[in-house]
Structures are given as structure tokens and as C-alpha cells.
């Protein structure tokens, strides 16, 4: 009995930490409609600042708590800087831009933190006066945990007071309901958004600072918390602070007991709970339908079939690439295979989100499924390479079929979050299921068949499969089926009103996108000769999103440019010091300066040239 109660209290203490970060995330989303990927970074910064302040001030209980509050305040100021420099410029951009931009901020903060505090984990002091344990039902409970259990509800109460009893809170709630109206009433929205972002950043910083006595401060804190924080916000309902509290308690307490039954559950449990909640309540426990969507986007131009000249240019480009093995059969060829795989992966993601309007934050799931299925087909089932290459996309399609069935029931941010959850569940499974997947050690020795084992031979195989995949995806986008997906993206109401079962079509689209991503994964596995859980990590999903964004969401040709540019860029800057910060900076520049991507920029240039020519003729 005492043991279970202690476990329950541990769960509640964890819930408090989780609530602090999730409430900030939820407030920021509620007001600005931005899914802030960099929120984990603010949490991490809170911990680092608190560590420095506490160890410098070193004045007992007063110094500790002063340090914690000061750290949170510093993070709030950093939040304001981020909001003013970056987010303010992308409030009207689609969700994808915002996610990728905040991911850029995350990368920069990672390297800045590394530069200031170094790569070593830092072990902070215990909280003065709260460093011992009390016995409850005979079980030792750390005093600090009890303090956290109290702090959580106190902060919830303070947030409630702030939102219901101050003029500021009323304005923020009004802005959450109707931004234009609040603007029309003469309220300075810029200031309102900045201050709301500061409050969210303060809470994240506070959450991080309060973790110092509980865990070592490390550079991994940002990404390790962000997945769970997203889940809590989604379960609670985006924008609802009370929901975040309830969800944090549910997740943490379930986790505390779940690990007793099945120790590995902590990696997947939050995502499983989220999947169940979203199916029963598609907008989370306390969310409403209105909170699912970001701002409407500018409609894209009607699609045009490729002109004869365009086909000729593409054919010439493919022919040129095919000549590559004559020039070099070493490093450049390997890099080119990477580019081809990335193109196929990015195009499959673009088909899902650009054509189908279903933004996936976890498309790596199907890339990884394909890679693992092919690797296991070779290693465990002893299948020949070509059979394994067919097996991979099939398994990826099957995975997309299962997860897609749930995902297409949602839309907007909720759909994106559920795809993220699906990817995290799969990542957790591959990571934990060592006997089959090899866990962290991955699967090694996945080499191509003898006839394809030379670099040029495998290059041609990759070229044929990628180009075939890209042509097929393009063809699909122009087919009646592709038009139905575009229609569903433009107007779900109209699509249903002309007798189309949109969900069924979206489901099929999801499956097809998964199969193509699986094919890319298969090629990846054979080109590297190994597969690791990284193949289905958040990082891989984000890479895909950056490629699509880089190329331009509104152009079918975009992913091809985006993937090439990304792979080449990453290959170059990953050799530099602080390459994360550089990559983050590049991402921000692209999002802020060229929101239509490379393809959009090129077509803009083309129009400029053509327009110029026409006026020239007239003159």
C-alpha cells in the first residue's frame, strides 16, 4: 500500500514539472497559434541558468529560490527576443513554416548552450532545506517532490488568476477567441503576443530551473521533454491550461504505475494515451474545434501539366545524373545516392501534405518501417535483395494503413500531432525491442545483392527506383485521385457535398505516401548497409519537412530541389564547428526571406523574366 502511494506521489511530482512546461506551450499556442518546437530549449535554458545562478549565489534557501525565479525571468526575456526577431514575422504562415522555424531556433539554442556551458552534464545542488526524505506510510518520499506537488497546483491557480482577474488576461483570452476583433478595439496585439510568449517562456524556464535538484542538466533536455510536452498539450486540448494540468497528471501517474508492470512503457505510453484520447475526443479533453487550425493560407495556382520543354529539361537532367559514375565512383556518387533517397522521401511527404493537405510531423515512421522491414527481410528471413525491396514498402504501407486510419479522422495541428505520436511509438518500439531490432545497436550487414554491390551498380538501381517513384507521385497528383485529395485540402465540405467519401480517399493517400517513404527507407538501408532507430526519429521527420519547405510547398517539383539543396547543404556544414547553429540560421533565413521555397523563387524569377519580355515586346 505504502509503496503504491509513494509511486503515486512520484507521479504527481513528475506531473508538476510536465505541467509547467506544457502550460507555457499551451498558452503560446492558444494566443499565437504557433506550435513552438523550441519550447524544450527554453526549458533547457531555464535549467542551465538556474544551475549557474544557484551555484554562484550559493546563499542557502534564499539563494536557491532567487536563482530559480531569476533563471525563469531571464528565459522570459530570451522568449521575448525570439518572438520579436522570428515568430512575429510568421504568424500568418502555415503551420509547417512555424514548426520548422522554431526547430531552427532549437538548433541555434543547442549550439549556443554548448558554447557557453560545454558538453559535460552538470550536476546541480539539492534544494536547501528540502534535501531529505520524509516517510509516508513507511516509504521515503523526497521533500523536494512534495514541494513540487504543491508548486504545480499553485502555479495553475496563479495562471488562472492572471487570466481571469487582470486586464491583460482578459485581453489575451479575447485575442485567443478573435484576433481581428481585439485589434479593431484598439489593443496593441504585438505587445499582447510578445507578453503572452514571455509568460509561456517564463513557465518553461521555471520548469527547467526546478528540475536542477532532480536531474543532471544536459544538452539532451530540450528534445527529451518536447515530445511529452506536445502530448500533454494535445491531450488537454491546445490552448487549455487546465487541460494541460489534467493531462500532465494523467500521463505522469499512469507512467509511474506503468513502469512497474512493463519497465519499457515510458517511451510509448504518453503517445498511446494521446492516440486513445484523440480518437474519443478529436480536439483533446478541453479543446474546441476552432483551435485545430492555423490561419488560412493563400490558395495556390491551378496545376499545369509539364510542358514539352520542361519534360526535355528533366530528361536531360536525369541523363546527366546517369553519366555521373563515369566521372567519379567514390564520394560524389555516395552523396548522389543520398540525394536521390532524400528526393523520394521528400516527394512522398509532399504528396501527403502539399497535395493532400495532411501535415505530418512524423513521416519518418514509414521511412524507418521500410528500412527496418528490408533489413529484417534480409537478416532474419533470408530474402534476396529485390524481394526485400518489395517487402519494405509493403510493411511501410501496412503501418501507414494502421496509423493512417486514426490520423485521417483528425485535421490540422491535431493530425500533425497524431502522426508525430505514431512515429514516436514506432521509434520507442525499435529502440526497446532489442531481440528483433537490435535496439540502439541497430541492424548491421544489410548489403545489396552481389550484382548491385558495386557503387555504380547500386547508384543506377537507386536512380531507377527514385526516378520511377518521383514520376509515379507526380502522375498520381495529376490523376482524378490526386485531384480529390487537393479538393479535400481546399474544401472538405464541398468534397463531401459532391458525393465523395473524403476520409477513405485520404486514408488511401496516407497509405500510398507511406509506401513511397518506405521505398526511400529501403534504398537507405541497402546504401548504408545498416539501420538504426535514428531512421524514424523526430530529426528524420523534421529533415523531410525542411526539404519540402526548402523546395516550396506549393510546387510539385519543390521536393526535388529541396532535397538536393538540403542534403548538399547538410553535407557541407556538418563538417563545420557549430553546424547546428549554422543550419538553424539557414532555416530561419529561408522561412523569413523566401517562404515560397526554391521552386517558388524560381517560378517567381521566371515570371519576372517573362513579364519583362512581354513588356519589352510591347514597347
Amino acid at each position: 500500500m505504502g509503496f503504491y502511494f509513494a509511486q503515486f506521489l512520484t507521479g504527481l511530482a513528475n506531473a508538476s514539472s510536465l505541467f509547467l512546461i506544457a502550460s507555457g506551450l499551451s498558452i503560446i499556442f492558444g494566443v499565437t497559434r504557433i506550435v513552438n518546437f523550441a519550447h524544450g530549449s527554453l526549458y533547457m535554458l531555464g535549467a542551465y541558468f538556474a544551475y549557474t545562478l544557484i551555484t554562484t549565489l550559493d546563499a542557502g534557501g534564499f539563494g536557491f529560490w532567487t536563482g530559480v525565479i531569476l533563471a525563469a525571468l531571464i528565459v522570459a526575456v530570451i522568449g521575448a527576443v525570439i518572438e520579436i526577431l522570428v515568430l512575429r514575422r510568421i504568424y500568418r504562415a502555415p503551420e509547417l513554416f512555424q514548426l520548422v522555424a522554431t526547430f531552427g531556433v532549437l538548433l541555434i539554442i543547442q549550439d549556443v548552450t554548448l558554447a557557453i556551458w560545454g558538453a559535460e552534464d552538470l550536476l546541480g545542488p539539492r534544494a536547501p532545506g528540502l534535501s531529505r526524505a520524509v516517510r509516508i506510510f513507511g516509504e521515503p518520499i523526497p521533500e523536494y517532490d512534495i514541494a513540487l506537488i504543491i508548486i504545480g497546483p499553485v502555479v495553475l491557480g496563479l495562471i488562472w488568476l492572471l487570466f481571469s482577474r487582470t486586464r491583460w488576461g482578459v485581453l489575451v483570452r479575447a485575442a485567443t477567441q478573435d484576433r481581428e476583433m481585439v485589434g479593431a478595439l484598439g489593443v496593441n496585439q504585438r505587445w499582447l503576443f510578445t507578453s503572452a510568449f514571455m509568460v509561456g517562456a517564463f513557465l518553461a524556464g521555471l520548469g527547467g530551473a526546478l528540475q536542477v535538484p532532480r536531474e543532471s542538466v544536459s544538452l539532451l533536455m530540450d528534445l527529451s521533454i518536447i515530445g511529452e510536452a506536445f502530448v500533454v498539450v494535445v491531450i488537454g486540448g491546445m490552448g487549455s491550461v487546465t487541460g494541460a494540468f489534467v493531462a500532465a497528471v494523467i500521463i505522469s501517474v499512469l507512467n509511474a504505475f506503468g513502469v512497474l508492470v512493463f519497465p519499457q512503457i515510458s517511451l510509448v505510453l504518453p503517445f498511446l494515451v494521446m492516440a486513445v484520447v484523440l480518437i474519443v475526443r478529436p480536439y483533446g479533453l478541453f479543446g474546441t474545434a476552432a483551435s485545430a487550425h492555423g490561419p488560412p493560407t493563400v490558395p495556390e495556382a491551378p496545376m499545369k501539366p509539364m510542358s514539352i520543354a520542361g519534360i526535355a529539361v528533366v530528361a536531360a537532367a536525369v541523363a546527366l545524373v546517369a553519366l555521373l559514375p563515369r566521372l567519379d565512383d567514390g564520394f560524389i556518387l555516395v552523396l548522389m545516392i543520398d540525394v536521390l533517397i532524400a528526393m523520394l522521401f521528400a516527394a512522398s511527404l509532399h504528396f501527403l501534405m502539399g497535395v493532400g493537405g495532411m501535415v505530418s510531423f512524423g513521416h519518418a515512421a514509414y521511412f524507418g518501417l521500410g528500412a527496418y522491414a528490408a533489413a529484417l527481410a534480409v537478416k532474419a528471413l533470408g530474402l534476396p535483395m529485390l524481394a526485400a525491396m518489395a517487402f519494405g514498402p509493403l510493411v511501410a504501407a501496412l503501418g501507414a494503413m494502421i496509423f493512417g486510419w486514426f490520423c485521417v479522422r483528425l485535421s490540422g495541428v491535431y493530425l500533425a500531432m497524431l502522426t508525430l505520436a505514431a512515429a514516436q511509438i514506432l521509434w520507442g518500439v525499435t529502440f526497446q525491442w532489442q531481440s528483433v531490432t537490435g535496439g540502439d545497436d541497430g541492424i548491421l550487414g544489410v548489403w545489396p545483392a552481389r550484382w548491385a554491390s558495386s557503387k555504380p551498380a547500386f547508384f543506377y538501381l537507386a536512380l531507377v527506383l527514385s526516378v520511377a517513384g518521383l514520376v509515379l507521385i507526380r502522375h498520381l497528383a495529376h490523376s482524378p485521385f490526386g485531384y480529390v485529395l487537393r479538393g479535400g485540402r481546399d474544401s472538405p465540405i464541398r468534397t463531401e457535398a459532391i458525393g465523395i467519401d473524403l476520409r477513405a480517399h485520404q486514408w488511401l493517400g496516407f497509405i500510398l505516401a507511406g509506401a513511397f517513404a518506405g521505398l526511400a527507407g529501403v534504398l537507405f538501408a541497402f546504401s548504408k548497409g545498416s539501420v538504426f532507430p535514428d531512421a524514424l526519429s523526430i530529426g528524420q521527420s523534421i529533415d523531410g519537412l525542411i526539404m519540402v519547405l526548402l523546395g516550396g510547398v506549393q510546387a510539385l517539383i519543390g521536393p526535388i530541389f529541396g532535397a538536393s539543396a538540403f542534403v548538399l547543404l547538410e553535407d557541407y556544414i556538418s563538417r563545420l564547428d557549430y553546424w547546428r547553429a549554422i543550419l538553424g540560421g539557414v532555416i530561419l533565413v529561408i522561412v523569413l526571406a523566401a517562404p515560397n521555397g526554391i521552386a517558388g523563387g524560381l517560378s517567381g524569377l521566371w515570371q519576372l523574366v517573362r513579364g519583362g519580355r512581354k513588356t519589352g515586346e510591347r514597347a
Binding site: P302, S479, R494, A497, G499, H505
Partner: protein
């Protein structure tokens, strides 16, 4: 000879009766208006005919076949088309492609992955666009259209499935007076040439009394009058609803 029969249609939201025991029939090639003050239950009524809202009680039959319990897309398949109060079109497609989409669905080719969508039923789409006077606009991006043109486009989309019944929710809302007359005249022509029956809701009484063959008046969820233009004009209950205060129905409300 009615095409669409509605009997005892009822729906309440949280104890408030939005629509109560509404019964009427829509005849072949009839142009029937459903009017009433704001909050009278017109839209709820409409949404029940389409399958967007499931009624608590009552039935809707199309040529004798029950529609209640079917999804909107199934209702459309059976021959009930609709246009929306706020137009719903595909802005990232051309005007012609918008109609082609409806035709692709009509011909059950939505799962086709081999053909090029823009090559399917292009002529059929142009014929429909010509029918609503939009032939010139066929190649334009839908996002560029003026509001009145969007309404006409919706009409062409609705005609793609050769509906028996067309439901038009506030077809002239937000349009200039001249546009209103043109759109309703066009609808009238279509009723004559295609033999389709139209039920529409409308706030503009000029439009209603000029074009509708017959008028239904809804107030507080119940049908209070039914008849031709002159009959409705002369009906004292209708006059009270539109001209007098809301108190005249006190007695009725208490009875319920």
C-alpha cells in the same frame, strides 16, 4: 405529384425546439421558397434534408425513398444537390476543374490513378458552364472569381450530378440587386429546362415573391403558413411575424 416529401421533421438542441413537426412537399419542377425571420430554423431544416444533421423525429423521402439516416454524400448520390450560403469551391483549381471534379464523382472515377484529371469530362464541364453563363471563365483560377460568379459556379457543380432536387441555402446573400435577379432568373430557367425541383431559403422578399412558385413560412421552428405569393402576403400571421412584435404567438408557444 411530389418529388420530396417531408413529414413531422423535428429537432431540438439542449431542450430548445429548433424545428418542430415540419411537414411539406416539393412538387416536380417546383420553385419553392422557405422563409422566416432569423433563428426560425431554416438552416436546421435544410441541414436535416441533406443529412448534415440527423432529425430527432420525422422523415424525408425522395420519390418514396427515405433519406433520414444517410450521410450527406449518400443524399447527394440519390439526387439531392446543394449550394451553400458561404460558397464552397476548390480555390486552387480552375473553374472548369471545379466542375470536372463533380463530374468525376458523378461518373465514379474518383479512385482512378492512371488518367489525367483535367482531360476527363472537359466538354461536359464546358456544357454545364455554358448553361450558367460561365463559358468564358472556364480556364480562370477559381480563386479569382467575383462572388456572384462563385454562386453560378456552385450551380454548375450542383447540376453535374443531374439532381432531381436542388437545395439552395441563401443563394443571393451578399449579392448586388442586379446579380440577385440574374441568378434567380437563371435558376428559374434551369428548373424549366432540366425539370429539377428547387427549394431555397432567402431573406430578400423581392426575390422570393418574384420568383418562387410557392412559399413556406417558418417561425420559431414551426410552419405557420404555406401558399402562393399573394396568399402569403395576405396572411395575417405572416404579417405579424414580419411587421408586428413577437408577442402574437405567445398563446401558441404556451400550448406547446
Amino acid at each position: 405529384m411530389s418529388v420530396l416529401s417531408v413529414s413531422n421533421l423535428s429537432k431540438s438542441f439542449g431542450g430548445v425546439d429548433a424545428v418542430r413537426d415540419v411537414s411539406f412537399a416539393l412538387g416536380a419542377a417546383e420553385f419553392l421558397a422557405l422563409i422566416g425571420p432569423n433563428g426560425a430554423g431554416k438552416t436546421t431544416c435544410f441541414n436535416m434534408l441533406n443529412g448534415y444533421i440527423r432529425p430527432d423525429r420525422g422523415s424525408v423521402t425522395l420519390e418514396g425513398v427515405e433519406l433520414v439516416g444517410r450521410k450527406p454524400r449518400a443524399v447527394w448520390r440519390m439526387g439531392v444537390g446543394r449550394t451553400f450560403q458561404i460558397t464552397q469551391t476548390f480555390p486552387s483549381m480552375t473553374v472548369r476543374e471545379n466542375v470536372q471534379m463533380a463530374l468525376i464523382s458523378h461518373h465514379r472515377r474518383t479512385l482512378n490513378m492512371t488518367r489525367r484529371a483535367t482531360r476527363l469530362y472537359a466538354e461536359e464541364a464546358d456544357t454545364l458552364l455554358a448553361r450558367v453563363g460561365m463559358a468564358e471563365e472556364a480556364a480562370r483560377p477559381c480563386a479569382e472569381l467575383a462572388y456572384g460568379d462563385l454562386k453560378r459556379l456552385e450551380l454548375a457543380i450542383a447540376l453535374a450530378h443531374r439532381p432531381k432536387v436542388l437545395l439552395m441555402d441563401e443563394p443571393t446573400a451578399g449579392m448586388a440587386p442586379s446579380e440577385r435577379i440574374a441568378l434567380m432568373a437563371l435558376t428559374g430557367e434551369i428548373i424549366k429546362s432540366e425539370g429539377v425541383s428547387v427549394l431555397f431559403t432567402e431573406h430578400d422578399m423581392d426575390v422570393v415573391f418574384t420568383h418562387a412558385h410557392r412559399i413556406l413560412v417558418l417561425n420559431r421552428g414551426t410552419l405557420i403558413a404555406e401558399g402562393t405569393g399573394p396568399e402569403i402576403r395576405a396572411n395575417p400571421m405572416v404579417q405579424e411575424v414580419y411587421l408586428g412584435g413577437g408577442t402574437v404567438f405567445k398563446g401558441e408557444a404556451n400550448d406547446a
